[in-house]
Symmetry: C2
Subunit: 430 residues, 2 copies
């Protein structure tokens, strides 16, 4: 019965080292979120299909994995369930489901897989892990600042050190359009183009603005001011617009409340636009030396929970690009999962089983030879492949003497130890 | 946009306490498996549909959740992927996929969700967590004994203390049929009926055997010998059959190699039949005081990996009924996830943010008030709902004095502490 041996396109099997590496990363981030008083939430892999459809736009809807109805309904070819596409829609559902049973505000973190039928590619998977924190029910800018701080600590816990939060606000962006007299109908497109100033030259960005129909002098002054990095000039301009003023206040509040972070970690970045439409207040994106694109992002989205079917509550949140960070980090950093002790089996199996049990009880990671060879050389070779720190040799002769031979696998040195003293001996030498 | 608020039928949302309880259990079991030198494995939630179909019988196939093809193919109503139904078929696939890249023997553990479109009911879910260990590639009875010991330690780690491994062997069962001259065509049905001796009276079991067509005296002697618990008599009978003799040897080897466990933990149980057909050697089921049915099971299934599409390797394994054990354990056993410190916000927000950051850095779990009320009483009420051990009061007056008021939430006692000493003060008092 032959079968396709590869996992499905766009998915991955995680073998031992990779599981340990990922779990260590997840656990480090979880510890940070717990310290911030976020509560864990785990929802099912799938939701009723009506909970998911219409939430991600036409393009998104096409990428949802739908589950066929079962039994007699299978033949209809209809779907009634779908794999979750992100962790935000399930959050909105949970807020509807449990309402006042949840703490208020509800601070939750979720680290788990989501599924998207995207075309698989380098670093783009159909099953990948998202890592989200959200605070639902607080309008306070303290909440925005908590998100920034928690994301900051989470990134540090993942071993990334050189990174920057680019902070802006939707209102500041609208204010920018107003202050520079960008025609309303061009606004959205102009913002998208301006956001490219982190990748393209000012000339190219200005050219694109002209293409989009912006007047030459408007394009020149916008690009000139934004690319000059003269924050004072932009601030002055924003101050001349009501929306701009409110936006600046939001940004400044986040800067003030995260002032405890290292200087330069959080910076006002007037050209920064988050791709998604649902943000209503402060927004941020995190860029890091050596990483393409952003490694985290988030912001305030007061209308989102309601638009996803939940109650109308203010909310803000952030997401750490765990997969992106993991893919860039050196796989060699991981602690190898080697054995503390390998035990050969040269007869006297019942004694070996007892010895293994005793050593495991003492907390050691112990493997017993389970192959078919009775040859010591072959068993030592096996112990080597297990990265064992020590190997115990124990056969009929040692059984008679009541001793175990302890072999230090790094030096090859062998010591005879009384049968009952092996655990103590190993714990001292480890 | 109203939506069905409940999670899909047969699935569950896990809120904070439940996630913590489950994660603590998973982690305890993982630690045990790691000590035994098992390697973790995580495979995708879905497999290609051809990997799953035909592996679980007609009834099982109907319970597989199938995923619709996407894009232009969606309209065909066909499925090309399916959610995993257990952790064993993915293991067989992984053994095919990675072959010699895996350690030999390959000892792996997997703790993760599986999906079955069973009719939901009390304790029966459509998404539930399985917990499996398997050793692929070892014909040694040391491997069988390792599985029993690891399952034993896993169950202990879950807090269950009073339990028994009922051990038998497929060969001993066939030997039993031979020894008691049960007609070959009745064999399977007779075994299924005999296995009910743990629930039904000997009379009822004998009556069912007669119904199935067994001769009166055969039924009487089988039921009589098995229910008398006279192991010696059964052993004598088995010794008269070649298959029975081999089966007894398998059982005795497992008993010998697990002799280090408490007396009575592992017992030969000649009537015990595992429901599934694929076992080839020693088999076991674990029963526990206060738990209905079995809480763990396993055995040797040398042909299984090949029949599931993998290479032809000997294998044995075990499964702990995590969900069953969790559902019976008292939910109150969990450490509540309360805050170490709640901080009120009565102005001076930037200082509060710094204080929170410092306390979190020191490892404390800290929540900041994110509501809209400026009233102390309301904020203290919030701190109470967070099960906070301490609450910090800090407003403009304290800011001027450079002090923080630390309130012990169990006694109501308040202490003034210099702003910079709060972390040290709390760590001493905690």
């Amino acid at each position: 019965m032959a079968q396709a041996a590869e996992p499905p396109s766009g998915t991955r099997d995680f073998l031992a080292d990779e599981v340990r590496r990922r779990e260590a990363a997840f656990s480090a981030v979880r510890d940070v979120f717990e310290r911030y008083g976020f509560d864990p939430l785990i929802t099912p892999a799938f939701e009723r299909i009506e909970v998911l459809t219409g939430k991600y736009g036409d393009e998104g809807d096409k990428l949802v994995f739908k589950i066929l109805r079962r039994g007699e309904h299978e033949a209809t070819g209809e779907a009634d369930l779908a794999l979750r596409y992100d962790l935000t829609v399930p959050l909105a559902r949970v807020v509807s489901t449990y309402g006042s049973q949840l703490p208020s505000p509800y601070k939750r973190y979720a680290i788990g897989p989501v599924w998207r039928a995207d075309r698989p590619g380098k670093g783009r998977f159909r099953e990948f892990t998202q890592c989200d924190i959200d605070i639902v029910g607080s309008p306070s800018e303290m909440a925005d600042a908590e998100i920034v701080s928690a994301v900051n600590d989470g990134i540090l816990a993942l071993g990334v050190e050189d990174f920057t939060f680019e902070v802006n606000s939707r209102q500041a962006l609208f204010g920018l359009l107003e202050a520079y007299r960008v025609p309303a109908e061009l606004g959205g497109q102009v913002l998208i183009t301006l956001d490219k100033l982190d990748k393209l030259s000012p000339e190219k960005v200005a050219a694109e603005l002209l293409e989009r129909g912006l007047a030459l002098e408007t394009a020149d002054s916008l690009v000139g001011d934004l690319s000059a990095g003269d924050e004072g000039r932009i601030r002055d301009r924003l101050d001349g617009s009501e929306q701009g003023k409110r936006g600046l206040a939001e940004v400044d509040r986040v800067l003030e409340l995260t002032a405890g972070l290292p200087t330069g970690r959080v910076v006002f970045t007037p050209r920064m636009v988050r791709g998604l439409d649902y943000y209503t207040g402060a927004i941020f994106e995190v860029t890091a030396a050596g990483y393409p694109g952003s490694i985290a992002s988030g912001g305030r989205y007061d209308g989102l929970v309601a638009s996803l079917g939940g109650p109308d509550l203010p909310a803000c949140g952030g997401s750490i690009g765990l997969e992106r960070i993991l893919s860039m980090r050196d796989a060699a950093e991981v602690t190898p999962g080697g054995l503390d002790v390998a035990i050969t089996v040269l007869g006297a199996e019942a004694d070996v089983a007892k010895l293994a049990a005793e050593l495991r009880l003492s907390g050691l990671r112990v493997g017993v030879y389970l192959g078919t060879s009775g040859k010591l050389a072959k068993q030592l070779k096996w112990a080597n492949t297990q990265n064992a720190a020590f190997t115990l040799l124990y056969g009929p002769q040692e059984q008679v003497a009541g001793e175990v031979i302890v072999r230090d696998m790094s030096t090859g040195e062998q010591t005879r130890v009384p049968f009952g003293d092996v655990a103590a001996h190993l714990h001292i030498r480890r």
